[in-house]
């Protein structure tokens, strides 16, 4: 037990061991193992129902695994969930924003939950990053989908998380929001962020990740390095490992 933990720390940002999750009789994740180094970007591909969303939710400590262990920055997700949540920013195709509140009020609310220091300045900073300063006091419900997604990115950056988890973030993103997203994933205060991102889009995945995993029926069926693959090669690998044409 002790050496496993030693094994994981400190270079690994994320370590997942023998992760399983079942919903009743359905096994969503059936023994997933992988590691993500600090500053590394890992893209997770996979057909619908492969367990991508479940994986992200478990990493974000929204969901408890049925069995298996997760370490984030060397801390066990079971024992230090709250500490871990401070280090993680989550973006999904749902924004986690309240439509009845203004952009500022939403960010202020999350700022309070994350104990963000100098909240007001920080809100202005992140809103500027996503180019939404002019709409800061509009109600979120009145904004376009793309704008809401940009605000959602701003929300996830508020507490300067070193680790970002993204579940199919490109769904519903307009062109501008995509640029913002790429920008946001890069770095802050000089340090590269660690990223785990799920997507359908092979082309975008290749471009965003250093390493890639293909998930099918709750297992990792392929692991590779994006630098050594072109789009055609990835298509081929995807088809062979999942049986589904990409």
């Amino acid at each position: 037990m002790a050496d496993e933990i030693k094994d994981v720390a400190p270079a690994q940002a994320i370590a997942v061991q023998e992760l399983k999750k079942s919903f009743g009789h359905h096994l969503a994740l059936n023994g997933v193992d992988f590691r993500v180094a600090r500053g590394e970007s890992v893209v997770v591909f996979g057909p619908n129902g492969a367990g991508k969303t479940t994986l992200i939710k478990i990493l974000a400590t929204i969901m408890n695994p049925s069995s298996g262990r997760i370490f984030i920055d060397g801390m066990s997700a079971k024992d230090s969930a709250e500490k871990i949540r401070r280090r993680i920013g989550v973006i999904t195709h749902q924004t986690f924003l309240y439509g009845t509140l203004t952009a500022y009020e939403n960010l202020e609310f999350y700022g309070r939950l994350y104990d963000v220091p100098r909240r007001k300045e920080r809100i202005h900073e992140v809103v500027e990053t996503v180019g939404m300063t002019s709409r800061l006091h509009d109600r979120v419900g009145t904004l376009s989908r793309g704008m809401q997604q940009r605000l959602s990115i701003a929300r996830s950056l508020l507490h300067k998380p070193p680790i970002m988890l993204l579940d199919e973030p490109e769904t519903g993103l307009d062109q501008q929001a995509l640029v913002v997203l790429r920008e946001a994933l890069r770095a802050e205060d000089g340090a590269r962020r660690t990223v785990v991102l799920t997507t359908h889009n092979l082309e975008r995945g290749l471009e965003l990740g250093d390493r890639l995993l293909i998930l099918a029926r709750g297992r990792i069926v392929y692991e590779g390095v994006t630098a050594s693959l072109d789009l055609a090669g990835l298509r081929e690998a995807y088809h062979q490992s999942t049986g589904v044409k990409a």
Binding site: F23, G24, H25, H26
Partner: protein, 219 residues
């Protein structure tokens, strides 16, 4: 093997209790022959409570350990329990008619039993409302815990609510030794029957779950 022993013990005890109720025990002076239903009503009420206690314990264990067997046990116990509760209500009505002249009376124990019935109902309803099996099991466990904790307060409130009513119709006067013996044997017989039903129902439930998982695997 264990089940056969349970079955025979249950049968013998049940026959003994029937003999005691209908032949051995003398007819009560004031209430007459109706009073014999008392030896059915008390065990029914006892089973209703016992089942729910088991539901409570298994619900806590299920939430803590997440083993399906605890849920199967809780579910089976609740099923026996809702039958016992329904039985207790029916027997209660049958008792109320000759004694008080009405089918239903808001007597505290009867009222509390009715509330218990609704809590049991919620326990089953929430499973079908939940949509997904595991979620239904989790929600049912929450009802099992909250409902059981609620019961003493329900009993207290209904008793105080009907404050004027004689509190202990059953035990206040003290029972004659022959009546006490009959009651104890009946309680024993129904408790063994409960265990027998629980064992059988749980194994059927687990078989069902196994078949469902096979079905799911076959798609």
């Amino acid at each position: 093997m264990k089940r056969y022993i349970l079955f025979w013990v249950s049968l013998v005890l049940m026959l003994a209790s029937l003999f005691l109720v209908f032949v051995y025990v003398p007819t009560e002076k004031e209430m007459g022959i109706v009073q014999r239903i008392f030896y059915l009503m008390v065990p029914m009420g006892w089973l209703a409570l016992l089942s729910f206690f088991i539901v409570f314990i298994c619900s806590i264990l299920y939430l803590a350990r997440r083993r399906d067997s605890y849920d199967a046990l809780a579910y089976s116990s609740a099923e026996v329990g809702i039958f016992a509760t329904t039985g207790a209500l029916i027997v209660g009505c049958l008792w109320a008619k000759p004694i008080w002249g009405v089918w239903w009376t808001w007597e505290p124990r009867l009222t509390a039993t009715l509330v218990l019935w609704f809590i049991y109902f919620a326990y089953f309803a929430v499973r079908s409302f939940a949509g997904e099996e595991a979620r239904g099991a989790r929600y049912a466990a929450v009802i099992g815990i909250v409902g059981f904790v609620d019961l003493p307060i329900v009993a207290l409130a209904t008793t105080l609510w009907r404050g004027m009513h004689p509190g202990g119709v059953i035990f206040s006067g003290g029972l004659a030794p022959s009546m006490l013996l009959t009651l104890l044997v009946s309680l024993g017989a129904y408790t063994v029957l409960y265990v027998l039903l629980l064992v059988h129902r749980t194994s059927v439930r687990q078989d069902e779950a196994f078949i469902n998982s096979l079905k799911a695997r076959l798609g």
